[in-house]
Symmetry: C2
Subunit: 142 residues, 2 copies
Amino acid sequence: MLRLSTKGQYGVRAMYEIAKGYPETPVTIKEISEKQDVSVAYLEQILNKLRKAGLIKSIKGPGGGYLLEKKPEEVSIAAILNELEGPVALTSCLDPEEGCVRVDSCVTHLLWKALGEKVEAFLKTITLKNLVSGDLDKMKRK
Amino acid sequence: MLRLSTKGQYGVRAMYEIAKGYPETPVTIKEISEKQDVSVAYLEQILNKLRKAGLIKSIKGPGGGYLLEKKPEEVSIAAILNELEGPVALTSCLDPEEGCVRVDSCVTHLLWKALGEKVEAFLKTITLKNLVSGDLDKMKRK
DNA sequence: ATAATACTTGACAAAGTTAGTAGGGTTTTA
DNA sequence: TAAAACCCTACTAACTTTGTCAAGTATTAT
């Protein structure tokens, strides 16, 4: 249950590669494609979304590529996934765009809401810096 | 992102109805169907799985219905969802049945694993008793 | 200038999953 | 013995995911 889409997974891995080039070395789509084994065409879609969201910027022409728009420690996994998969909404009634019909009659409403918030909170504490520096103790402690 | 299937949602709500009949009042599929607004045929599939998993038992014939097999405080949400949706496996490489090809080369492996474990741990702390008694503080504290 | 590099965009399709319906059982008990 | 209630399998329509493809536009090294 609760499978993450490949778009989200690839997106995080792509951001990891771009973060390795921080602060000044542009990383090309081709490099990301080879290192993370994802097709160039698919990555284009993913990076496009992340660029529009202001997480990365791109430099065109020879020698160009992608760069982080912020510091690695300021880019959380939550931010990346939010752009690629939308907000955590375990049920459709928690989706901001849909809304709940049963609302308070629904005993489980609070449960799913609480779980979603926990997930989001956790993902906010993990940043690209943690990933790049291999600082993974955080995940065990929290 | 991270949408729960309706099977999982309905399953929890059905178990909630059955839990209300604990310890001795059988709850029929029809009652659950009406109270939770889910078709009888769909509920049959769901309850069948839960019965085979030993979470509930059924009594046939007139006056029959479903009963909890254990005490409400011994049935966690995690147990219900595990039967209906399989284990929490945010990525296919964490799925027990598939396995990971990249394993240690995958920087994000640990991340998804940690998140999955957090989700599972949380869902294990919430039981049907919490749901029935409206004891939801737990969700805020933890 | 211009060719090479690299990003940008939108349409589309194959594959898989989900969410349910349908229709036929069997078992139990009043 | 009939009604109530559970049991089981198959199927399918809709949706989502996971990509591919083709045709751009922008930039810069030479």
